[in-house]
């Protein structure tokens, strides 16, 4: 069951867009971080059930952050939401253990679908 969600994106607008696509009636606790390093720290502090991760970010990019999170917690569920939709970028983060890759801009349907897949995995 999903209770907590972490949003990692350097763009406050992008985090706002993601938040508005997350169903509000399920009472999720949402945490936010503005770069990959802050995302990793927020992951360690909050142990969210699902992390939505951007890729192109300052300080630490989303690929490195995903790798660090998965190294810290091999069961971490990371869903990448990115504008970088090159096949090589997608393959790279899937190899690092991301559950799936969503193309920006997010839609309610895509977020709902991603959360369903995450819930199936978490059980």
């Amino acid at each position: 069951m999903i209770r907590t969600i972490l949003l990692v994106d350097d763009s406050p607008i992008s985090r706002r867009m993601m938040k508005s696509c997350i169903p509000k009636d399920r009472g999720y606790e949402i945490h936010e971080a503005g770069d990959g390093l802050a995302g990793f720290e927020a992951y360690k502090a909050n142990q969210p059930d699902v992390t939505f991760m951007d890729l192109t970010m300052p300080v630490m990019d989303g690929s490195e952050s995903t790798a660090k999170i998965r190294e810290f917690d091999p069961n971490a569920v990371v869903i990448v939401c990115t504008a970088d939709i090159q096949i090589k970028s997608i393959t790279n983060v899937l190899d690092l253990g991301a559950l799936m890759v969503m193309k920006k801009p997010p839609s309610k349907e895509a977020v709902e679908d991603a959360l369903s897949k995450a819930a199936e995995l978490i059980g």
Binding site: D10, S11, P12, I13, S14, R16, M17, S20, C21, T56, M57, P58, T82, A83, D84, I85, Q86, I87, K88, S89, K104, P105
Partner: protein, 212 residues
């Protein structure tokens, strides 16, 4: 005076930055589909300037390059302006081989022609996909002029001041990219005129409405 905040708010700037990020991501993926290349993307940067200051600004942005090649393309719709794709001068030769051509073959005239053709093709894909996606997200449809390529100019002579209307404003959307397998870096600048700004402000608000 904060020229930018006088014309678009910081929130509008953030929205535009995110849309530019999505648009250039699409452009990179389109280019990667056509040629075997991986584009390393960076966080885009938005700046608002007086159009008369643009040539000086563009020069300052590419001053680390001795000589540059530029692909320039104009676009028209509710969103209208000019796109400038700026590479360091050796980029054309580096990119030629990615299209399966031999940059060493033929005389200097044919190398120049090949480089020009390659830069035009890369420019067409990157500018077309980026401006096209940006316009699509903002509910517009644009048409393009044929791309114009200037090879190996100095930054000082690259963009003449008279291409921009005086007493108008311009939003400069800048993204820096790097083609990973090749030693090629570049900038993409989109310069839009004062006429587009009111439309842009409304379109940005409309775009965000779906996320309220």
């Amino acid at each position: 005076m904060d020229y930018c905040n006088d014309i678009i708010s910081s929130e509008e700037k953030d929205i535009l930055q995110e849309i530019m990020n999505i648009a250039f991501g699409q452009a990179a993926a389109d280019l990667a589909d056509v040629i075997n290349i991986f584009v390393v993307l960076s966080v885009p940067y938005i700046e608002m300037l007086n159009a008369q200051d643009l040539p000086e600004y563009l020069k300052s942005q590419v001053c680390s390059y001795d000589r540059i090649s530029i692909v320039e393309q104009n676009f028209w719709g509710d969103f209208k302006g000019s796109a400038f794709l700026v590479f360091q001068a050796n980029a054309g030769r580096e990119l030629v081989s990615l299209f399966g051509e031999d940059p060493g073959g033929g005389g200097s005239d044919s190398i120049d022609a090949l480089e020009k053709e390659t830069l035009m093709e890369v420019g067409n894909i990157l500018i077309g996909a980026c401006v096209g996606k940006l316009s699509e997200l903002l509910g517009d449809l644009v048409t393009y002029s044929p791309p114009r390529v200037v090879i190996e100019n100095t930054p000082n002579d690259a963009i003449p001041a008279n291409v921009f209307e005086s007493n108008s404003s311009a939003i400069v959307l800048k993204t820096v990219f790097n083609f990973n397998e090749r030693d090629v870096n570049g900038f993409l600048f989109l310069v839009t005129s004062h006429d587009s700004i009111l439309w842009l402000k409304k379109s940005l608000a409309d775009f965000m409405e779906q996320y309220e």
